[in-house]
């Protein structure tokens, strides 16, 4: 019995539209195709019509989950073209927001992974933890989704001592929540049955496919932009790059759970070592000379690259956004071939896809 099973464009295992076409024989997938482009909004074209401050608000809306990362990467690029030096305190506040965002993204994905393998209790636990991160982000920035923490030349909002205490106590709660999740994911037998040996990408294939982020680190490649090419004072913090050698869905789960711990560690260090001084340069509207810069940061899903070209005018000449999901989506057909229909939804979701980033 051969079926052609569509996963998407609208499917209950996907939050966003993408279309994976599965050619199956019984429960086995013989071949797979991935079609993208259902969520195109023309953000890159729009950036050429906006000035630099407006562009921050625009790129923040590329993605609902890693909104800070986009604005962060854009600001880093413009600051490098104009030759600005961001004050240390501003850099630290940016790092705190970025790491909270990473926690948010990873908890969300862990919940979804649990939901996809039918483990509803863990889904509820993970989303409970995610709610706490969102509360922390609200305490920090006043917003739950688009934080608006970036401005060219630094951060927009300062942290006072009350917020600092509140964030530190929230981090302790998050640490406990993550410990529970870690315990369930690593020790539960049914989770292991569903995730071990599923969607394998070997180290060599990972190199060839050019995948990035936690997806790549789960295939045993030790690379993290935060550690290998530090930006915004990441070199001040002590953290480990989490690597797992197996390259299956289980190791992706483990990598993300352990990265949560590292993120909590980074935020704690940043809050404790928070230097005194200004948070930004007080630039209202930057005068950007002609120039070109490629800025790259470690977004929650992997390496995010912004290629920014300016021509000395009031708007961007070109902003080219290279998102991690584009790199990782290329590995989906590779993983789907030879696996079971039961795992297809999980495999598509295990790269932590963000199709609103991907299609921009």
């Amino acid at each position: 019995m051969g079926y052609t099973i569509p996963i998407g464009p609208y499917h209950s295992s996907l939050e966003e539209p993408v279309y994976a076409k599965l050619y199956t024989e019984g429960e086995l997938i013989k071949d797979a195709e991935v079609h993208i482009g259902y969520n195109h909004r023309g953000v890159e074209k729009l950036t050429t019509q906006k000035n630099f401050i407006q562009t921050i608000a625009l790129v923040e809306r590329v993605c609902g989950i890693c909104s800070h990362s986009h604005a962060f990467a854009y600001c880093l690029g413009i600051e490098s073209i104009t030759g600005m030096e961001v004050p240390k305190r501003g850099q630290y506040i940016r790092v705190i927001t970025a790491e909270l965002e990473r926690l948010h993204s990873h908890f969300l994905w862990l919940g979804l992974a649990a939901h996809l393998i039918g483990f509803e209790s863990v889904f509820m636990y993970a989303f409970n933890a995610r709610e706490k991160v969102m509360d922390a982000l609200e305490a920090l920035s006043g917003n739950r989704v688009n934080y608006g923490m970036n401005i060219i030349g630094g951060a927009r909002r300062d942290i006072d001592s009350g917020q600092k205490e509140k964030l530190l106590s929230m981090l302790d709660e998050l640490h406990d929540a993550n410990k529970t999740l870690k315990n369930i994911f690593v020790n539960d037998k049914t989770v292991a049955m569903r995730t071990k040996g599923v969607g394998i990408i070997s180290r060599e294939d990972a190199m060839k496919l050019g995948i990035v982020g936690p997806h790549m680190r789960a295939s045993g490649i030790e690379y993290d932009v935060r550690a290998n090419d530090p930006y915004s004072s990441y070199e001040d913090f002590d953290f480990k790059v989490i690597v797992h050698p197996d390259g299956d869905v289980f190791s992706r789960v483990v990598v993300r759970v352990l990265e949560n711990d590292e993120s909590i560690k980074i935020i704690k260090q940043a809050l404790e070592k928070l230097p005194e001084g200004k948070i930004n340069l007080g630039v209202k509207m930057p005068r950007v000379p002609e120039g070109e810069f490629v800025s790259r940061i470690e977004a929650p899903r992997g390496q995010l690259v912004y290629h920014i070209v300016t021509d000395g005018g009031p708007t961007n000449y070109r902003v080219s956004i290279h998102v991690p999901t584009f790199r990782n989506a290329a590995s989906i057909p590779h993983m789907l071939k030879g696996s079971y229909v039961a795992d297809a939804g999980l495999i598509v979701a295990c790269i932590d896809p963000c199709f609103s980033c991907l299609d921009r």
Binding site: S12, R194, G345
Partner: protein, 327 residues
């Protein structure tokens, strides 16, 4: 009088009306228990009733590609056969004259019909998800039917030996023996069989980790993907009644006669045993269904099949061998 009583049994208790109420109620209780375990408040216990009545008012859509008659009639046949089983299971002292007509073999046959109805309905819907769901349901049936049948065989043989007859398949005889001599799960040679039966329950009613045939996040509810309106409501109702029937069967086979007769009147005894039965059903629902549902992930079809042909089958075979050896 006989006819009126028969109608009462079929339409009110333990037939249509009672099954309708208890099936949906058990679904609601299950949802509430699981919600509390997941740190949620959960829906009200009578939420499945709201859902059912809402579904009754919805439009009934039959897909163009579906085999229309089969598509409509399959869920109804499933519902009828599951209610029929409810008539055949005695509840301690409460017995109807239907109990004399059917034995375990009939019940085993009738139990397969709702699953078959799901398979036929899903396959006739013309959707690839329905097709995959149907093929998964077939594999699951092959998996859990074997330990189920061996378990029933072991109990029948044991009670038969104890009453000095050949193996008995009459549920009335099995329950009567337990009322006189204490519940069957106290016979230690039947304990493995009882465990095997408990393991079969979640698969038979399609709850996590064995909700493989209608996995929402994998194949979009599988066989039920095209169903909507009252037909979907009937399917949900069947699922609820199946929970009641499977647990009732378990209690009738292994846990009858725990409470002694409280008075000489059969009516009072029946009433007490029905209340006791409901309490037991909820306890077993918690152990065999809700607890498992809250603490496991859905496993894959080949893992489920392997599981059923190893542990439950081995346990039930162990019981059968012990009974056969006269222990």
């Amino acid at each position: 009088m006989e006819i009126l009583l028969g109608l009462f049994y079929v339409l009110v208790f333990p037939g249509l009306l009672f099954c309708f109420a208890i099936g949906l109620l058990l679904l609601g209780i299950d949802r509430k228990i699981v919600a509390r375990m997941q740190k949620r408040i959960g829906p009200p216990i009578i939420q499945p009733f709201y859902d059912f009545f809402k579904l009754m008012g919805k439009e009934r859509i039959v897909p163009n590609k579906a085999a229309k008659k089969i598509y409509i009639i399959a869920p109804v046949i499933g519902l009828i056969s599951i209610i029929t089983i409810a008539l055949f299971i005695p509840i301690d002292y409460f017995k109807t004259f239907f109990n004399n007509y059917a034995d375990l073999v009939v019940i085993v046959y009738l139990l397969t019909i709702p699953s078959l109805a799901i398979i036929i309905g899903g396959a006739s819907s013309g959707s690839p998800f329905g097709g995959v769901g149907a093929s998964r349901e077939v594999v699951l049936m092959l998996g859990y039917e074997l330990p189920l049948v061996i378990t029933l065989l072991a109990v029948g043989m044991k009670i038969g030996r104890l009453t000095n007859t050949a193996a008995t398949f009459s549920l009335i005889n099995i329950v009567d023996y337990q009322i006189k001599n204490g519940p069957a799960f106290l016979q230690w040679s039947l304990i493995p069989a009882a465990l095997a039966f408990l393991m079969v329950i979640p698969c038979e009613i399609g709850s996590t980790p064995f909700d493989i045939a209608d996995a929402e996040t994998e194949i979009c509810e599988g066989t039920m993907v095209e169903y909507g309106g009252i037909l979907f409501g009937v399917y949900k109702l069947t699922q609820g009644i199946k929970i009641f029937v499977m647990i009732s069967l378990f209690i009738a086979m292994f846990m009858s006669g725990i409470i002694p007769a409280v008075s000489s009147s059969i009516f009072v005894n029946s009433l007490v045993s029905i209340v006791w039965h409901m309490a037991l059903v909820i306890v077993i629902l918690f152990i065999a269904v809700s607890l498992l549902r809250a603490t496991t992930a859905r496993i894959r079809i080949e893992q489920a099949f392997k599981f059923y042909w190893t542990y439950p089958t081995a346990l039930s075979l162990l019981s059968l061998v012990l009974v056969w050896a006269g222990l």
